[in-house]
Each structure stands twice: as C-alpha cells, then as structure tokens.
Amino acid sequence: MTKKRIMKKIMCAVIVAVMMICSAVSADTTVFYHEDSQYTVLIPETIIADGTQYTFTAPVMDLCDGDRVDVTIGNIDMAGSIHMSTSTNKDMIAEFFNESGKLMPGQTVATFRNGMTEAGMIYATPFSTEGAGDYYGSVVFNINLVHEGEGDVIIG
C-alpha cells in the first residue's frame, strides 16, 4: 500500500510537472497571420480635354498600417502636357492640372489611405491644336502601394 501511495504521488507529481512545462511552453508561443494590403482603384476611361474634372475612387481600400496608395500620371512631360493627334496626323498638346495648378512629372494626383473611397481631382485643357478634328491620346496612370517609412519603390 505504501508503495502504491508512493507511486501515485510520483505519478501526480510527474503529471503536474508535465502540465506546468506545457503551460510554460504555450505561454511563449504566439499566433501570427499577415494579410497584404488590398485595394482597387477606378481610373477614368477617357479624359475629355475641355476642362471637365475627374476624381479617383476606390471601391476597396483595405491597407496595412503605414501603407498608402499614390496615383501619378506616368507619361506627362516636363511641361505638364501630353501629346495627342488625329487620324490625319494633326497634332495637339493638352495640359493637365489638379487643384494646385499645372501637373509636373511624378506629381501625385491622388493619395488614398486606409478606408478612403475618393481622392484627388484632375482636368485637362487644350494648349495648342492644328484646327478642327478628333484628337486622341492616352494617359498612363501609375498606381503604387507605398510603405511609408520605407521610401518609395523604384520601378525596375
């Protein structure tokens, strides 16, 4: 009986020790999960260069802390303008503006932070044309996720 009691005590002690060790280990364990920023930006399909104003909207803007989404115009020249032409090779230059004036290359036209649904405004006006006609050009919008504090990502 004495031996049995001693055995029981030893077993209890072992179980308690194992439980304590287990609890100690689980206290050091952390659970981690990372989900990348998710966003969707709507860009204007066509910009009519007659002074009509366009804003940028974002149906989804679920960003990590410190992230933001910048929109710039990629193919604007140093004069803040874009070249357009007709099917008969007449040329036109359209100038682009935002709230603060004429746009410069690399200048941000809209900045979205977490939860924002609307940002920025641009419009274009004709600077010079070669007479009547339908002039076409294309704007390339750069849409970039920026991790603040890490500096802007450089295009490779």
Binding site: S37, L42, F141, N144
Partner: protein, 187 residues
Amino acid sequence: MTLIKRLSKEEADFSTGKLKPNEEDYASAERKGAKGIKKSDIFFCIFFSCCVVALALALIFKPPVSPKLDESDGEKWQGKQAIEHQTEVKHIEIPGIDRMYFKAGETTQKVNIYNPESNDCTISYKLIMKGKVIWKSEKCYPGYGFYEIKLTHGLEVGTYNAHLLHVCERDGQQLNSANMNVEIIVE
C-alpha cells in the same frame, strides 16, 4: 435711184452755199458751250470732285478714336474659360497587385491577375523587369484572368522590382492605361 439722186443734189447745194444750216441748231450749240456740255454739268462735276477729295482727306487724317472702357459692356477678355458641364464618365477598375511569389528557375508561375467583370474594356498585360518584358498577354476580357503565366525565362532566388502595365482597349480604340509597381519575390 430717185432718192440717191435727190440726196446728191442736196449735198451739192450745201457745198455751193445754196442750202443754209438751221439757226436753232446754232443757238443750241452756243448754250452747250464750245464742246456741247452744259455749264451746270461742269459745276456739278467740280462740286462732286471736291466732296470726294474732302472725304478722302477726312479718312486719311482721321484722329484715332480711343474706346471708353468704362462704357464697354462685358469684362476685359483674358482668354477662354473652362466651362463645366455634365459628361458621362466611365471608369476602369484596376485591382491592386503589390507582390508576386515566384519559384526559382521555373518559367511557369502562379499569379492572380484578372480583368474585373465590372469593366467595359479589354486589358492586355505586360510584366516588365529591368526594361524587358518577361511576360505579356493578349486581350483579356472582363470577367477573365490568369492563374498561371509563362515567363520568358526563369528567375534566380531574390527580390526584384518590376511593373505590371495594363493596356486598356475597347473596339480597337486605346483607352487610358494603368501601371503598377510589383515586388517579385523568387524563392
């Protein structure tokens, strides 16, 4: 023959002085002057010429007329203004892609690139790294996308900066496009 003979006789009489000219014809000629012009006509011509010369001189030496700005309707013209008006604005939905995970040395890679169903245009994609196109697609219609792409060559382990160009088109007409910086992590 009789008429010819009579006319010839009158001519002969006139030259010999037998036939005298009508006196009334002489009086009328005196009134008209030596050349047969009335005096009133001459005065009219002189008066008309004077008027023309005076008008010409007045036009030549006309003093410049300075407009009185205070009296002008409207405002000082400073070039055309931008006039706002309602225009139907269509948009292109561009889903953000920040990062892609590729397998080292393999050309076939798994991605999630798609043209949202809400768009009304096709999108052609180009994945560009260090100025070289490492993957490009044909036109991708709304509601379609890519789960797998085939690169021009496999990549070594590392992190690369690239950009994904979205070229948007409808009915052969190019629309505005989008460009997105993408971090490619090759493992």
